[in-house]
């Protein structure tokens, strides 16, 4: 049977080049039991985004059809993961951040209620990268999420009534909130955005009952603010010492030094540790902040109850290129040199895929996964990233062919992991840039960047890629290239299907073993969201994705930018000159099922 919908589009190509060499090996480590819902953006605490559902599988996915749709009413970047719990789907829209509850027990999933947090319109001028929100979290009869203007809100999951709201961010300083919170026990964990505005990053734990802040841990400043105390045992010497969050900066620069925490959190219940990455130091121009700029562009492990730091590892000390360390951490137990280790795996913006011992913070391996001109490797003895000095940005000088780019080898868009193949499904970029440092000027509430940047495709000419990665050998098994950056997350299922979207609006199902496109559907706008899958009250498996171009690159369309300027959207103008001809702004949820 030939289904026209199954044919590859011209911009897409599956490759298994020689030298990839990764292999599949079923994973035997523990996985969280699947509740067949999707209560948090990351699916499970370990961030696998794996669903044990297999009703939709490689043999029948070609028959997938739209079951119903829902319009969020906001034609801006839809980066949220729909949340499924309580026989309801909860969808957070971009600013003005309405929360919609859709009744899954009724045909067409009618709106049960919506909650309007009425955020400040001024937030629109303080958010670096479109007006996005990455989703809510469900726990104990409440739905928690963050608003762009800096509030964490808790809404009664049945009634849609506000339970509490707590002001966490200071908009006047450029502090916004976009991340999807995670609930651990009786606390909801949140972090801030605003690394391009010279804000000071933090993560906080709020009591789920009343919204009171139980602990708050800054990413810069004195140890007491960073919650560094007796329990802190970093693996590498470079992270040992007192008040490094002050001493590794020029005087007072830590106060406006960034290190925000806008990525996904992970949690290891056995160790009671939460893991998250810290974003880039500010400003981008590195020359004005000599030092390693602790604790930016790294990973923290913290005690979930107290917030006390347990270890820290800095992927990009003295970050040169806006390489936030916020990318997600997938928690697995893997055999490493004959021994099973509790690890954390992250595909970092700096181009290395790290396998880190999540008990100690020791880097077990760091393997390059994209074309790179800026570094030569990671020294496993010291944990240090090996730089190429000629590629360091300089004020008043244009440095060309910096790879990977500022958005990194991979940005926030989350990968998934299948225990059936043992592979990670990593959506990412293949891009390079030219950069010139300019003198940054701190004016509260305005961008604090100090760099002119222009992005373009890396070798091969494709800006995006979805790769299947074998974490044991540190090699690719297959890769799907795309003309545009792959800015959507992935989900993988027990049906051996990987779902992902493209910036020109295709929603696809790839064979988890080969990468071959088994099904595709053209949605109304570009996809930059997080696919999810669940079992509905009717027993059927559904797959959901929000379609709506936007986010950092997609702002070219959603904010109607002019790509005659290479630096439009802070560097994307040159990379996405034709995106406005290819897709239009939108905001529609698509839910698919088998007929």
């Amino acid at each position: 049977m030939l289904l026209s919908g199954c044919q590859k589009s011209a911009t897409q190509e599956v490759m298994q080049p020689a030298g990839f060499g990764g292999v599949m090996h079923p994973y035997s480590g523990p996985m969280e039991k699947d509740d067949e819902e999707w209560v948090r953006a990351t699916k499970d605490y370990a961030n696998t985004r794996y669903s044990a559902l297999d009703q939709i599988n490689t043999s029948n996915v070609a028959n997938l059809k739209v079951a119903w749709t829902f319009n969020t009413g906001v034609a801006r970047g839809q980066e949220a993961a729909p949340i499924i719990a309580n026989n309801t789907m909860y969808v957070v829209a971009p600013w003005p951040n309405k929360l919609f509850a859709l009744d899954l027990t009724k045909p067409g999933a009618p709106l049960k209620w919506s909650y309007d947090p009425n955020p400040s319109p001024a937030a629109k001028g303080e958010a670096c990268c479109d007006l996005v929100n990455r989703g809510a979290v469900y726990a104990d009869g409440k739905v928690f999420y963050n608003t762009l203007d800096g509030y964490t809100v808790a809404v009664n999951a049945d009634s849609g009534k506000l339970a509490w709201r707590t002001r966490m961010g200071n908009l006047a300083l450029g502090e916004t909130m976009t991340m999807a919170p995670m609930v651990v026990k009786d606390k909801v964990l949140v972090g801030d955005s605003g690394g391009e505005f010279g804000v000071r990053g933090w993560v906080a734990a709020l009591n789920t009952k009343d919204g009171k802040v139980v602990w708050q841990a800054y990413s810069t400043g004195p140890d007491k603010d960073v919650l560094i105390g007796d329990r802190f045992k970093p693996f590498y010497d470079g992270d040992k010492g007192q008040d490094l969050g002050v001493k590794t900066w020029p005087p007072d620069a830590w106060r406006i030094g960034g290190g925000t925490a806008w990525g996904f959190m992970a949690y290891d219940p056995a160790q009671n540790l939460v893991y998250y990455g810290t974003a880039n130091p500010g400003p981008w121009n590195p020359e004005v902040r000599p030092g390693t700029n602790k604790w930016t562009s790294g990973v923290f492990a913290r005690d979930a109850d107290t917030g006390q730091a347990v270890w820290f590892y800095q992927m990009s000390p003295h970050d040169l290129y806006d390489w936030d360390g916020i990318n997600e951490n997938v928690l697995l137990d893997l055999p490493v040199q004959g021994q099973t280790r509790k690890v954390l795996i992250r595909a970092d913006r700096n181009g290395y895929l790290y396998v880190i011992d999540r008990t100690t913070g020791q880097v077990l391996s760091a393997t390059s996964y994209v074309y790179t001109t800026t570094t030569t490797g990671v020294d496993l003895k010291t944990g240090e990233l090996q730089r190429v000095p000629e590629k360091e940005p300089k004020t008043g000088q244009e440095i060309r062919n910096i790879c990977p780019v500022a958005p990194g080898a991979k940005d926030w868009q989350p990968m998934s992991f299948s225990p059936r193949t043992g592979l990670l499904y990593v959506p990412h970029e293949n891009m390079c840039m030219d950069e010139e440092g300019v003198t940054p000027n701190y004016i509260a509430g305005t961008p604090y960047v100090g760099a002119n940047v222009r992005y373009y495709a890396g070798p091969g000419g494709n800006e995006g890629e979805l790769m299947a990665w074998d974490p044991l050998s540190g090699k690719k098994v297959w890769t799907v290239t795309d003309k545009y950056p792959m800015w959507s997350g992935t989900v993988v299922t027990a049906g051996d299907v990987v779902f992902y979207g493209t910036m020109d609006g295709w929603f696809r199902a790839a064979d988890a073993r080969t990468g071959k496109t088994l099904w595709q559907f053209k949605t109304g706008s570009g996809i930059v969201g997080q696919p999810v899958t669940y079992r509905g009250p009717d027993g059927k498996q559904y797959v959901a994705i929000l379609s709506g171009i936007g986010g950092w690159p997609g702002a070219i369309v959603s904010n109607n930018l002019d790509t005659r300027d290479d630096t439009a959207a802070n560097g994307w103008g040159s990379a996405l000159r034709d995106l406005k001809n290819v897709t239009q702004a939108g905001g529609t949820l698509y839910v698919f099922s088998l007929p």
């Binding site: 001028g125 904010n559 930018l561 005659r564 290479d566």
Partner: protein
């Protein structure tokens, strides 16, 4: 075909020495609304919201737009007041593109002056008290040069920084929808 505008003021006729590319402008804030822009007849009836009445003209606006030095200063200030952090080099980012023909709050110098000084509700900060008035006018003139509204011999011809877009001097003149709220309008051969 280029359009040349003639604006009539109540206050009198403002003219400046014309290089061949320079426009002669005379203001008339109270003018009727029916004219021809680019060969298209505009509506008589206007929506109330955004493009309100054409603002009263300010001699400052025009004075700065005649000075290449002032516009050059505006270009420098656009970086140092972090305008470029939100509007990039005219293509926009957090804030809207300023090199195109679309204007939320109007393309006239006085409107742009208000954008900067008063701020705008959807994220444009108010720079009131932060930027001296003459510098605001320099910024206004520079902002208008991005969409080719200034005479070519006034608009900046080069940048001290990495070239990320054409020099403002080479930017084609955009035709914002509100440019034609004027009394007399002629096509140009």
């Amino acid at each position: 075909m280029k359009t040349e505008l003639a604006w009539v003021t109540l206050a009198g006729v403002l003219m400046w020495a014309g290089g061949c590319k320079r426009e002669q402008r005379v203001f008339d804030p109270g003018a009727a609304q029916s004219q021809i822009a680019n060969g298209v007849v505009l509506n008589e009836v206007h929506a109330g919201a955004e493009h309100l009445q054409e603002p009263s003209p300010s001699p400052s606006g025009t004075k700065y737009e005649q000075s290449a030095y002032a516009v050059g200063e505006g270009k420098r200030l656009f970086e140092s007041y972090n305008c470029s952090g939100c509007h990039q080099h005219g293509g926009g980012g957090i804030g809207p593109a300023l090199m195109d023909a679309e204007w939320i709050y109007g393309s006239h110098p006085e409107q742009i002056y208000s954008d900067i000084v008063q701020g705008r509700p959807n994220g444009m900060p108010s720079f009131a008290g932060k930027i001296p008035e003459y510098q605001v006018w320099e910024l206004v003139a520079y902002v208008r040069s991005m969409s080719g509204q200034l005479p070519e011999d006034v608009a900046p011809s080069r940048s001290d920084e990495m070239a990320v877009t054409q020099a403002e001097q080479a930017h084609p003149k955009e035709h914002p929808p509100d440019e034609s709220q004027h009394n007399v309008q002629r096509g140009k051969q």
